[in-house]
């Protein structure tokens, strides 16, 4: 749990928005969506780091940056001390083998024209994981690993349910024997009873194969359940990060507090405690100045409107990016 496998350093990513002809004529400056505004993280060997936040907060963008689907505008990601966006590393396919990703939508993440067996065998062949003669046996082994029946190999993705498809996606990721798994909303599209099956499988495989997992999700209960540490993201910035149990039982950032209290409890008598947030997530097209959360925060001060708070350690808690962390938590 101590060794850092991946270090993300001040990651920024903005997507330019195409300008209309009118904007060009009026000489308006080109806008851009600021998806990530300086994210720094360390991923430690064998841990599960949960990443939570609302849609559009940049959590999926972060996941896609890590597997090099997006290149950051600035900032770096080091995997075992090598910059993954360096010229030499980009050509190196072994990174793609060692860091795998699983996607949210089980209906689009598998090629609809390839059988399960072909999908798994392709991964094995491209990375030469096994000699040709052993591929069939390894495919059978992988199906066994994710508890799919052996006849699954000959079937096409449309013949499976959502949960089974996610198992296939997990098997494909595990085929190349990775060290790090990025799970982007892995179970969000699944029914509750099936979610539990897939989460159980993931936890079990993590122990067995000593995997490091980045678990991106919007379901707070699930993140709490699977994570050792959790990062809360708001508008492309980490506002709080720390030990999962500490963060969930005593969130320190006003946004974390609101987010956690908004999740509807299963207990019908547990009502009324919700901290109602004013308004909605501002557009990432124009992130508010100062603390990005200040427009919705009930503790807001003049300082919050102008100065961007940085992550700092709060005694007995994790790291929090809030000017008023101490005051806010005294009241709590």
């Amino acid at each position: 749990m101590t060794q850092t496998v991946m270090k993300i350093d001040d990651l920024h990513l903005s997507f330019p928005v195409s300008r209309s002809l009118l904007d060009v004529v009026q000489r308006k400056p080109g806008k851009s969506v600021n998806a990530l505004n300086g994210v720094s993280l360390e991923l430690k060997q064998g841990e599960t780091l949960g990443v939570v936040g609302e849609s559009g907060c940049g959590k999926s963008t972060l996941a896609r940056c890590i597997v090099r689907l997006y290149a950051p505008t600035s900032g770096q990601i080091h995997f075992e001390d090598e910059n993954i966006f360096g010229a030499a590393a980009r050509k190196d396919r072994s990174y793609n083998r060692r860091v795998q990703m699983m996607f949210q939508d089980p209906y689009s993440s598998l090629n609809p024209r390839m059988s399960t067996g072909d999908i798994l065998a392709e991964a094995l062949r491209v990375h030469q994981m096994r000699p040709e003669s052993e591929i069939a046996a390894r495919v059978a082994e992988l199906l066994e690993l994710v508890r799919l029946p052996q006849d699954a190999a000959d079937k096409l993705p449309h013949e499976f349910s959502g949960g089974q498809r996610q198992r296939i996606a997990i098997a494909r990721a595990l085929a190349v024997e990775p060290e790090v798994l990025i799970a982007d909303e892995l179970v969000s599209a699944l029914d509750v009873s099936v979610q539990a099956q897939v989460v159980n499988l993931l936890l079990e495989l993590q122990d067995r194969l000593n995997l490091t997992i980045l678990f991106v999700a919007h379901d707070l209960r699930l993140v709490r359940h699977v994570s050792n540490r959790v990062a809360v993201i708001y508008l492309g910035r980490i506002v709080e990060i720390g030990d999962s149990e500490t963060l969930f039982s005593a969130p320190s950032h006003p946004y974390s507090q609101a987010l956690l209290s908004a999740a509807p409890s299963l207990d019908p008598d547990d009502k009324g405690a919700a901290i109602q947030l004013e308004g909605e997530l501002p557009s990432p097209l124009n992130v508010p100045s100062g603390c990005p959360f200040h427009v919705r925060c009930r503790h807001v001060t003049a300082q919050c409107r102008t100065v961007v708070p940085v992550l700092r350690v709060l005694e007995g808690r994790g790291e929090v990016a809030c000017h008023l962390a101490e005051e806010v938590n005294q009241h709590a």
Partner: protein
Amino acid sequence: MSDAAVTSAKTSDAPQTRVQIALRKPGFLIGAVIIGCSALLALFPGLFSPYDPNFIDYLAVRQPPSWAHPFGTDMLGRDALSRVIHAYTVNMQMAILATVFALTIGVTVGALVGYYRGVADMIFGRVVDAVITFPFLVLVIAVVAVLGPGLINMYIAITLVGWVYYARLMRAEVIAQMGNDYASAGIVMGYSDRRIIFRHLLPNAITPVIVYWMTDMALAILLGSSLGYLGLGAQPPQAEWGVLIAEGRNFITTAWWLSLMPGIAIVITGLGFSLIGDGLADLLRPRG
């Protein structure tokens, strides 16, 4: 929500194969029969034509349809039915040769610019704009005018212009498929670009292109015979529908069958390709 469950259940439990389902549609079946017969006529015209298409009989010129000559005879006394049948060979050849190169080039270029985007895509966009602002026929005639008339030059001209339409369609479809995570998954798995483009994206993106291809074959026959009619395509005495219509043109009031019969052949063959195209759309769509 339950609707989704119902439809997915439907496809997996459906007992028939896709071909069986497609053949139950009357349109597809008729199209398949028409094109099947056309192909037979094109491959073995000698088996079906009652006379030698080039046998000249000055004693029997411009005879109206009769039992001996169902489509009548032309101004040289050649059997019109035999000439229409022998024209199948060259007209069906047009359907294929005028489209297959455009298809191959268009699919490849479209897939590449759709996948890589960037500067190549911008240049491609300009080329598309330039090509589609001119009517297809005008461009093809211009190219034939430069190269000179004849079948080979006609194929070159149609390919030079036609690939753009395939590429445009393919590009759009590849970009749409890129929105699916299986393409991202391929990148994350470290697969080569070539593998992702040709093994993953292309099979999923090509369906509308194939359907368009069928329509385009019908258009190619129409275009080929138009050029033949104008004297820019097949050259007489070759039996080709456009040439045949042109030959009959001078006698349209006295020997109408000479132009009408090849015209009907064009319509029926074109209809066949269109009907097959519609049916293929269902046949090729992935399930799920």
